[in-house]
Every structure is written in structure tokens, then in C-alpha cells.
Subunit: 313 residues, 2 copies
Amino acid sequence: MRLAVLGAGSVGRAVVDLASEYGHTVTAVADSGSAVVDADGVDAEAVLARKREDDVVGDGDPSHALSTDYDVLVEATPTTLGDAEPGFGHVRGALETDRHVVLANKGPVAERYDAVRALADESAGSLRFEATVGGAIPALATIEGVGPSRVTAARGVLNGTANFVLSRMAAEGLDYEHVLAEAQDLGVAEADPTFDVDGTDAALKCAILANVIHGGGYSLADVDVEGITAIPPSALDLAAEEGQTVRLVGEVTGDDVRVGPRLVPEHGTLAVTGTTNIVQLETEHAGRLNLSGQGAGGAATASAVLADVNRLD
Amino acid sequence: MRLAVLGAGSVGRAVVDLASEYGHTVTAVADSGSAVVDADGVDAEAVLARKREDDVVGDGDPSHALSTDYDVLVEATPTTLGDAEPGFGHVRGALETDRHVVLANKGPVAERYDAVRALADESAGSLRFEATVGGAIPALATIEGVGPSRVTAARGVLNGTANFVLSRMAAEGLDYEHVLAEAQDLGVAEADPTFDVDGTDAALKCAILANVIHGGGYSLADVDVEGITAIPPSALDLAAEEGQTVRLVGEVTGDDVRVGPRLVPEHGTLAVTGTTNIVQLETEHAGRLNLSGQGAGGAATASAVLADVNRLD
């Protein structure tokens, strides 16, 4: 397959780096300010070097990146809320010209799922977005295998930054601000970690899970969200006395979609540590399935993108 | 799809029961002594009632079951070793007539993988066997998504009976014979649990994992196997003092395939309890993926069979 990769953050760069190993050719790469297009395949090493050294992927205009020959749009630009632009427009352009779309950007399928689904239904191209929920974890492929109507609930720890902070607070008895600063020093938390710690990122993933399970109808506004910023160390101490701990848990149960700090058994399945994510599916005939792994990171997320590319018809 | 279901044990019966919910029609069912065939779809309730009351599925000859119209052979007869017959013959007959094959029977893909693979390569039909490893757990679909060559190791707790026995021995301090008798009373262990407790069942699953990861070449004879029958309660006590416990772990690492009791951290990922199974995959780009769930049971295993049917081209 010929891939057009939009976005040159850690995920987009890793897709460019790994695509040839998966048997695919990258014919276009664009970031917000530059682009490179080559119908015979771009030079991945040169693109990555330019990005690293000069923060550009090439000398072309990013708006022309999708005018090349490509079979699959890999949309890995930053997640945006509301109208989910410019990602939504990229997705529309690709589907309207009967190309496949694989998303790492959560915006279009969290905020405008029904519109994206309608575009995909009209298109000869297919739409996949495994990488948007739980990074490397095969959550959506598993729901597809079970059959969305036979998944009765989904639950998970879906934000590695929040989980790292909670794990460290519980293990060290330190307060939120202290641990967050440490996480930022380690590169686990971004300079602006708002969406991670206020629950927005996990809520977007839950909206996507709800859309997949229920066939659409959900956006961030439908998720009841509470973050971890107000949890005092004393709450974790109290939990520990009862053999419990606190995790930022997202849940899709029936029509309800919510994210918030929950008490979970200290050694239980949901008490994943560090940046690990977990998705738990309750199914009609197969009981509970637990899927855990790296919820973020360029290569791990890119591997979910490339698995999606391999699943395209 | 029209399904011909061979085998009317718990898995075969559950496939017959659930097929219509997944949009499929069962056109033949056979057990070892009887069969029923109806090109318009058998009456599932009647078949299940006859099996329950008279231990027959119909009044036909089982050897004629595959002469009906069908698209997919669901092979759910008991696993046999060595030549893997009669399962292997059923698989050959279906693939040679360009039908798809979905296996719950481990024999053909554990003992004669290369021959089955060659038949599938020559056939217009496809071969799938998710249900043979870890019941409801999507282990093989996940390996397929990651790409077999990018799975660097697989490891797992793959036998629910052995795991139940070890969990109970550790929790209650009881000896092996006592707990096994209890498991038999509860229906968790079969009357003859030899293959579960001597490691054979887990070893067959590891041979299948090795075949998938390495593209063939493995059978039971290639697996280094040790069971749980010789573990004294004192070994579990000693492990517990160090925060460890014992699990029957199967491993595929490089060319090595082995099954045996291993020390694992008491609250670690591999220390699943009761009849839960887990498969852990080490991947080149996506780190470690953990997949756990019901490793056995009619409905859970049938759901893996039917997910495979839905994945057929």
C-alpha cells in the first residue's frame, strides 16, 4: 500500500520509519508547515533527519501532500476537539476520493464519528482507528471480532500519564504537583498535561469505544468526566489500608460513558502500573477479556496504525 | 455462511446454539455416531435436545455430514495426537473441496501443521484456528495483527484445570490429589485430567503458537514438557514466603518451546487465578501485550470459532 502520512509527531515519524518493514511505501509526509511527496516512495531516513534537525519534513507545501498517488491516508496530526479540524477535513478528502483512512488522531472519531462513518459508508475506502484507543492494545480489533453488539461493557485505564502519576503518588506518598513535575522531567508527562490529568484524553477514548460498541452517537460532550488533579495523597493512603488503590477508569456501560478516579483492588487487573494501559471488555458469550500493553509511544502506536493498514481490504 | 459442525461436545453444541445470532446457518452437525443434514439449516434447538436426551444429533450417518452444501467446516471433534485423525481427514476433505476450515480441535494444527498449511495454500478456502489457543482470548488474531515475524516471544498460562489446581493448592495449602478431586467434583477437571495436569494440553497450544510465529515446523514432540503432578504444597509455601507463586507456564522463545511449572510474582500479570488463561506476547515495536480471559468453556470457545468465521474472506 502507498501511505500518505499527515503529522510528523512521534507517531507519524514512527509510521514513516517502520512502513517499509510492513511492506508499504510512504509516498507523502506532511507536518503543519512542510511536506515531501514522491510517488516512488520518500526517503524515510532523510525525512526523519530533516525533521530532527530543521523541524521540517521537506520543502513542499503541506496542502499539496494529498495530491500525490496514495492508497491510505494515515492521519496522525494532533487531536483537536469540537470540529476536529484539520483532521476531519483530511479524512473527508481521502474518503471522498475513495482512499482508505487509518487514524491515530482521536478527534474525528471521538468528536464527529457519525459524520466520519457516513463518509466511510459512501466511500470505496475503509476506515480504521485502532491506534486511537490504548495505543498498541488491540481493543477495537477485539471488539470487531467479538461483535460490537455482544460487548456489554468496556472499561479501562486509558491514559498513561495519569496512571503514572497515580502509581507514583501511591508508591511514594508524594502529592500530585510533586509527582507531575517528576513525570514532566522524565518525559512521561507533556509540558501541558491538562488533557491527560483532567480526564479529557481518556474521555475521548471512551467516546470512541462507545461509538464502536453502539454504532455511533457519542462525542466528548456525552462523557461524564472527572480528572485526578484533586486527589490528595491521603485518599491513596486510605485506599491502601483497605487493599485498594485509585485509578483513572473510563467506562462504557449501557448508554453511560464516564471517566473518573475509582477505587480498584491494589493487586487487581485494573491496577496496571506506570504508563501501561488496559482495556477490559465484558462480552455476552465469552465472559471478560483483559487486554493490556503500551498505551502510548511512537513505535507502539505506529504498530497499531500499521496493523490497521494490513487489515484493510 | 453455511456451517458444517463436526463434533457435538461443549464447543460444537455452543456453535450450533449461537451460529444464527452471528448471522450463519448450520447445514450439518455430526458427532461420532450420528448426523443431521439440512441444506436449509438444521433446527438447532431440536439437535441440542436430541444430543442432551439421547446422545445423538440426528438419524444420519456421520460419514455423510460433509456431503451437504456448506461453506465452512467447523472442526470441533476431540483433539487427538500423532496423526490427528479423524480431524485431519475432515480438514483435508474440506480444503480439497475449496471450503473454509475453522478449528477448535488442536490436533491438526499442533501435530500436522505443515501438512494442513500446505492443503490451505492449495485451497481456495481459508484456515483459521483462534479457538485452539486460550479459548476466548484473541491470541492468534493479535499475532496476525502485529505480524508473526515481529513477535519475539510468547508466554502464557494456557490450561485452566492446571491453573485452578495450582491456585487452590496455594490458597488452601492442600495437596495435589485433594485439590484435583475437588476440581473434578466441581466439573473444572475432567474424569481423566491427564493431558491437563501433565502439561500435554498446554504443550499442544505452545506448538500451535510456535507454528504461527515461526511459520510451521513444530509438533508436540518438539516441546519440552513438565506437568504439575509432582509439585508438593511445600514448594508453594516456599514460593509464597518470597512473594512468588507457581504457574504452569508455556513459552515460545526463539526456537525453544517448553511448558513447565515456573515461579512467578504472586501479584504479577502471569499469576492469573482459577480457570483464567493469559497469553503474553513480546513484540518488536509494541512492547509486551497481555491478553487474558476464559481459556475454555463451550460458549467462550464457540465465540472464538464464530469470530474466526466472521474473519473469513
